[in-house]
């Protein structure tokens, strides 16, 4: 089972995506936006490291590279989920979403 899993695994993102994210993160535009929103400078180093790790995995399929990438992405996901939602999530979309609108009372032309 483990070998099958290892064969099937690939990095969560295409390696080039890490590079483009890094370049975008470092851009003047993004640095300005980060300051405008958070009052800080962005930290972009992780994207660069992930890019190199991804390339490393592509070359050698090392477990170390795989674990590094997984760890980094899991950390990103955890960051996104660091808050307690104000509302309860639905299991299904609202039933009346597609219900037809009440027609206007017919006007005498």
């Amino acid at each position: 089972m483990d070998r099958l899993e290892a064969a099937a695994w690939k990095p969560p993102r295409a390696c080039d995506d890490y590079l483009t994210e890094f370049k975008h993160c470092k851009s003047l535009w993004n640095r300005f936006q980060q300051y405008y929103t958070y009052g800080t400078s962005p930290s972009c180093q992780q994207w660069k490291e992930d890019y190199y790790t991804c390339r490393e995995w592509e070359k050698h399929q090392s477990t170390e590279a795989k674990e590094l990438l997984q760890g980094s992405e899991q950390k990103r996901v955890a960051e996104q989920r660091k808050f307690t939602p104000v509302w309860e999530l639905r299991q299904n979309p609202p039933r009346d979403w597609h219900m037809p609108l009440n027609q206007e009372k017919p006007q005498d032309s």
Binding site: K10, T37, G39, V86, P93, E104
Partner: protein
């Protein structure tokens, strides 16, 4: 009258055409005397070209149909649009939206409300925290508070100004549609701000421009691979 009271309480008085239109829908009078046609054209353009909307529309689990879920209407005052949870419709104020960029922004803003409505049990009418949360998210993620939009409003701020803007606009939106005191509204916004400001669904980030929106959409398309290999 009960209906009038309810209308005022939930902000429906800003959208007088919700219950009774002045002109019959689709009539020539409507075309001649209102901006209805212009509104429809701008909406179509926004849905086809805006990268922000592409992201929200594709990630909402409910399919959005232009004819069923959008309505161009005359509105009171300076309001640009609204989301009517009772009829599952986004209202666009044809008399107050005159530029394509404004239309794009309003549609994104209201789509975020629709998105919240579809993915969570949002109690729009009775729970002010829910309303505040959705308004914070909509102001945060739609581009309402971009630097250029703020400068255009003569609000010159830099460091962390985005958050100030989001807070302010969320407050205004709540006060426009609900009868509560400013202090009470401020308290509610403060309570939910941190949580809701950091909820970036469906973008996964705050989209400050088209490139951010493109990357967010790319992440959305890649989501199966992403979560399978975490």
């Amino acid at each position: 009258m009960d209906q009038t009271k309810q209308e005022e309480e939930y902000g429906y008085d800003l959208f007088p055409e919700r219950n009774k239109g002045k002109f019959k829908k689709g009539s020539i009078a409507e075309s001649l005397f209102t901006f209805n046609h212009k509104c429809q054209v701008m909406l179509q353009f926004a849905m086809e070209t805006s990268k922000y909307e592409r992201c929200v529309l594709s990630s909402a689990r409910s399919t959005v149909f232009k004819d069923r879920h959008f309505s161009c209407e005359e509105c009171d005052g300076t309001v640009s649009g609204g989301f009517d949870a009772a009829s599952s419709q986004i209202v666009l104020c044809q008399n107050n939206i005159h530029q394509q960029s404004h239309m794009n922004r309003v549609v994104t803003h209201e789509l975020i409300h629709a998105f919240d409505h579809c993915r969570a049990h949002v109690d729009w009418f009775n729970n002010f925290r829910h309303l505040a949360c959705s308004e914070i998210r909509a102001a945060n993620l739609s581009g309402d508070c971009s630097f250029s939009n703020e400068v255009a409003r003569f609000n010159f701020g830099l460091k962390q100004h985005h958050q100030e803007c989001v807070r302010g606009r969320a407050l205004r939106s709540i006060l426009a549609v609900r009868k509560i005191s400013r202090q009470e509204a401020e308290k509610i916004v403060d309570e939910v701000f941190d949580t809701c400001f950091n909820d970036h669904a469906p973008f996964g980030r705050i989209p400050h421009g088209n490139k951010d929106a493109r990357f967010a959409y790319r992440d959305y398309k890649n989501r199966d691979r992403y979560y399978a290999n975490l």
